[in-house]
């Protein structure tokens, strides 16, 4: 446990210091597991440390054929998902991808995944910079 915490901390530091990566920090990156080949949702929190505007424009993962930025919308008692072209981040701003709102839609699983495993996801930004973030697969239950 102690080692896991330490590596998580080191990872967080690495994410900021990574050469060519945008000045952002990502935390709480996780995927809600679903059975079979069903699409799953990825959640995280992202904070910009840039001096100017930054934009998250996409994501990809070697473990999935297709990853999209999505947002769930509740209108008039109906729920639906909409595709999002990008998420703007002002300097210092934090945007949270949480259940019922922004999420990554991870489709076409390329291998069997189980809760407890980690999945590498590359976040892509408007200026072409990328950041690889490990997402932890968590169980279907839980908020």
């Amino acid at each position: 446990m102690k080692q896991a915490l330490l590596s998580a901390l080191l990872l967080a530091v690495t994410m900021v210091a990574q050469a060519g990566a945008p000045p952002v920090t990502v935390s709480d990156a996780r995927i809600r597991w679903l059975p079979g080949d069903l699409p799953m949702a990825g959640y995280f929190s992202i904070t910009s440390h840039a001096s100017g505007p930054t934009k998250l424009v996409g994501a990809a993962s070697p473990d999935f054929g297709h990853v999209m930025l999505h947002r769930s919308v509740h209108e008039g008692g109906m729920a639906r998902m909409v595709h999002v072209d990008g998420v703007d981040l002002a300097p210092g701003q934090t945007v949270t991808f949480v259940p019922g709102s922004y999420h990554l839609m991870l489709m076409q699983r390329k291998k069997d995944l189980q809760p407890g495993e980690e999945v590498p996801v590359t976040l892509r930004f408007g200026d072409g910079e990328t950041l690889e973030v490990p997402f932890r697969v968590e169980g279907a239950q839980g908020e």
Binding site: H74, G77, A79, M81, M107, Q141, G142, E143
Partner: protein, 204 residues
């Protein structure tokens, strides 16, 4: 450091919070407090449908669930965000009932029977807990049920891979042991509030 710890304990923590808060709500209750969820008693018809149960392929009817407090929710398995969020919240709310959870059934009716096979619906429902019952029907059977509870659903345009989005009702309908409609939970209903109301319905 705190971040990593919060991640590891999230699933347990979410349900634990429900238990504690539900206890408080009960402890502070008056003799006849208002329901936490929206009271829709008498505003809609009793539970009635003919559908196929995903776990064993059997034909089931609304009356087969009499004796249980029933929660009814419409969704689809290719729904990675809203449906799992709603189902896990309900599962937490039901689990917080303890042994009484056995007297509750959560009916998850797919509005996407074209993609949702019985096998797929079965594993999806099972992922959220033993009280979740996956139900599938023909378009006619699903339309009859959604019309009965005045909800709608629709399909988006398929993409290059043939995948499409489905819009569906956010509402969860709650029926008493006699199959009469009683409460409506919207997408903002908290697990502890649902637990509190389920306890009252079970005590009737």
């Amino acid at each position: 450091m705190t971040r990593a710890r919060a991640g590891a304990g999230r699933a347990v923590g979410a349900c634990l919070g429900t238990l504690l808060l539900a206890g408080l709500l009960v402890a502070c209750g008056h003799s006849a407090p208002p329901w936490g969820l929206r009271d829709i008693t008498g505003l809609m018809p009793p539970l009635d449908f003919t559908l196929t149960e995903a776990s064993d392929g059997a034909t089931v009817h609304g009356k087969d669930f009499q004796g249980h407090v029933v929660l009814l929710y419409f969704g689809y398995t290719h729904c990675p965000d809203v449906c799992p969020t709603t189902l896990s919240r309900i599962a937490c709310a039901v689990a917080a009932l303890g042994p009484q959870a056995e007297q509750v059934r959560v009916l998850f009716v797919t509005v996407d029977p074209a993609r949702d096979t019985l096998a797929q619906l079965k594993t999806y429902a099972a992922a959220f807990g033993p009280q979740i019952v996956g139900l599938r029907g023909s378009q006619d059977e699903i339309k009859a049920l959604t019309k009965r509870y005045r909800v709608s659903y629709g399909y988006g345009k398929p993409d290059a891979h043939g995948d499409y989005e489905v819009s569906h009702s956010s509402a969860v309908y709650v029926f008493d042991r006699e199959g009469e409609v009683r409460l409506l939970a919207d997408s903002t209903a908290e697990a502890a509030v649902i637990t509190g109301d389920l306890k009252r319905l079970l005590a009737e």
